[in-house]
């Protein structure tokens, strides 16, 4: 039998039971749409996280006090007190693979300027910090090493701080603000960076010389973090090892002692978040996949009903000269058609759902060709797999029995 004629016969018999065909298709439509929606949400959040991690800087290696326990992040990391300014200086002197280093101290503080006040994070850093984080100064200047030595009361402010203290389109350079009642002179304003993907405003920050913040505001010798950058992407791992070795030495740790600090590269961080979102995506997609299989069982169910209902038709076709293969193909095409059409409509619906989620829910979404192909191929396989048994049952009918079937 010619393929065109088989197609015609199949589409005709599907057309005779439009509601039934549609309901069967619905199982596949919902399955495919949910696979696409789930993958889209999963991929979207993954990309979002990646983007926010890369906004931390380029080739960044971070050292924080405390340890990572295996397989997870220790939540108190940063609260234990083992890193000093001297560690950062040693890294700068002795690690060949490291380009920039800066210790970081930070403190949430109340800022007052005239009658305005604003609460923000004040960071004490070396001027290397600007290079590591790709921060640029839009107006004014950054601070110098001598500012750090003298613990000068100068600072560079982010634009959100400027907006809240001085209002729009005001040049803040030269103004004096009081941070925890200590007067600081503003010497520069940062370029706008906007929100990062976690929703943090990266412009809501004040950056001051390290010594200034450490001595005048915190009066402690500990640092919250040492941030550094490797000379190139290839050297990140080397830099990490170098830094680990150096700090172990400085902290006089014997080989059997665990690190009392943690060194993380950007890719370590993205791996942690990446694996979380990967697990999420797999979980969501497999739930959606299950609904696709349920849809496939629906196809099989309805095809079995159809074969039983049409036993006589099959008998007639066999009697007038249809080969088993012709009958097999006819029924296979019906189930494959249902799953294909269901797949196509499901893709459209899935994309629509994602667009709605993005528009009204504000969630990050990503529609990839991969997810579309994956769900469509999965739907087609479901159609073939679950259509095979009923079709074979039809093809193997004995013509005499089929003709007598009431």
């Amino acid at each position: 039998m010619r393929i065109g004629n088989i197609l015609k016969a199949s589409s005709r018999s599907l057309g005779k039971n439009k509601l039934r065909t549609f309901l069967t298709m619905l199982g596949i439509i919902i399955g495919v749409a949910s696979v696409i929606a789930m993958l889209g949400i999963g991929e979207g959040s993954k990309e979002n996280i990646q983007a926010s991690i890369s906004s931390l800087g380029t080739n960044t290696v971070m050292v924080t006090p405390g340890t990572i326990s295996q397989g997870g992040v220790r939540l108190e990391a940063g609260s234990s007190q083992s890193l000093k300014r001297e560690d950062a200086e040693a890294i700068s002197e002795r690690c060949e693979n490291v380009m920039f280093v800066s210790p970081v101290v930070q403190k949430g503080s109340q800022i007052i300027s005239g009658s305005q006040n604003w609460r923000t994070m004040v960071m004490g850093v070396f001027n290397d910090y600007f290079s590591i984080r790709n921060l640029n100064i839009q107006i004014g200047i950054g601070f110098s090493e001598s500012d750090d030595r003298s613990a000068a009361k100068v600072c560079v402010v982010g634009q959100t701080v400027v907006l809240n203290l001085f209002g729009e389109n005001v040049d803040p350079v030269g103004q004096v603000i009081r941070i925890n009642r200590i007067p600081f002179k503003i010497i520069g304003m940062l370029e706008k960076k906007g929100q990062n993907a976690f929703g943090q405003d990266q412009d809501d920050v004040i950056v001051a010389p390290f010594s200034t913040v450490q001595k005048r505001m915190l009066s402690t010798t500990n640092v919250n973090m040492i941030i550094s950058s490797a000379k190139s992407e290839d050297l990140i791992e080397n830099a990490k090892n170098e830094i680990t070795e150096l700090i172990r030495q400085r902290h006089k740790l014997t080989p059997d002692q665990d690190n009392d600090f943690t060194v993380r590269t950007q890719s370590d961080i993205s791996n942690i978040f990446g694996s979380v979102s990967k697990v999420m995506t797999i979980l969501l997609a497999s739930i959606a996949g299950i609904s696709l299989i349920v849809g496939g069982i629906g196809i099989m169910n309805i095809m079995l009903v159809s074969v039983t209902e049409r036993t006589r038709e099959i008998g007639i076709r066999l009697a007038v000269g249809a080969r088993s293969r012709d009958v097999l193909i006819q029924f296979m095409i019906e189930s494959v058609f249902i799953s294909f059409m269901g797949g196509l409509i499901g893709i459209a619906l899935g994309i629509l759902v994602l667009e709605l989620i993005a528009r009204f829910g504000g969630w990050p979404i990503t529609i990839t060709v991969f997810s579309i192909l994956l769900s469509f191929i999965f739907a087609a396989i479901v159609g073939i797999f679950f259509g095979w048994y009923p079709a074979r049952k039809a093809a193997n009918l004995n013509p005499i029995d089929a003709l007598r079937y009431e």
Partner: protein, 243 residues
């Protein structure tokens, strides 16, 4: 005349669980080209089993079957399907036409399974076959819009459309009133005059008199094979109704 169907000592055994049912117990018969044979017998006598075997829908348990001198036993399933498609036309008691499918599409059905026929030729031949049974005006009618006699005529057109060498009719008038039955017999006799061999199973002695010869089955054996002495002419019988 040339021999069309030749069966030698055919035995058919059905296994129903433990019990073996011997439906045919050694049938030998020869049917020549152009014959019109009626097969008679009570139900369970084996006449339908015999018909299924010579119609290539079933295989004998033992014995030889030659159709146009070719040994059918040696053919595989697909070859049997091709044989049914090209050489045999079937007509059934319950018409067996596809529901919710127009008359002409029903007639086209066998040609769909013949790849050498184009779509255009298929439509033409189906129309001609319907015309030959007097249904030229009803090509697009659905089965539920047709009477029993008309449905059976659609089935006859379907059996004719592949230009078979033999038509197998299993109780073709079983579901019809006598006048309609005569109309069907009129078509059969006309086809037979044009050279088509017809094998017809019937249990109505009245209908068997339209055939050229009668084979009577009983308990899986042929008990008589005689030619009909006073053959009835359907056209003449139909005239009686007009008066």
């Amino acid at each position: 005349m040339e021999t069309l169907i030749e069966v030698q000592n055919i035995i058919k055994i059905y296994k129903m669980g433990e019990i073996e049912v011997r439906a045919l117990k050694g049938i030998s018969v020869e049917i020549k080209k152009g014959e019109f044979v009626a097969i008679m017998g009570a139900s369970g006598s084996g006449k339908s089993t015999f018909m299924n075997i010579i119609g290539c829908l079933d295989r004998p348990s033992k014995g030889e079957y030659f159709l146009e001198k070719a040994n059918v036993n040696l053919l595989n399933k697909d070859q049997l399907a091709d044989l049914r498609n090209k050489k045999i036309g079937f007509i059934f008691q319950s018409f067996n036409i596809l529901p919710r499918t127009s008359a002409i599409e029903n007639v086209e059905l066998p040609l769909l399974y013949n790849n050498s026929i184009s779509n255009k030729e298929r439509r033409e031949r189906a129309y001609n076959a319907l015309k030959s049974v007097g249904l030229a005006e009803r090509t697009s009618s659905l089965p539920n819009q047709l009477s029993g006699g008309q449905q059976q005529r659609v089935a006859i057109a379907r059996a004719l459309v592949n230009e078979p060498i033999v038509i197998m009719a299993d109780e073709p008038t079983g579901n019809l009133d006598s006048r309609t039955s005569y109309e069907i017999m009129e078509i059969f006799q006309k086809l037979n005059e044009n050279g088509i061999t017809i094998v017809m199973v019937t249990h109505e002695p009245d209908i068997s008199q339209f055939a050229g010869s009668n084979i009577v089955f009983k308990d899986g054996r042929i008990i008589t094979n005689t030619s009909v002495k006073e053959r009835k002419q359907a056209s003449a019988e139909l005239k009686k109704y007009q008066n």
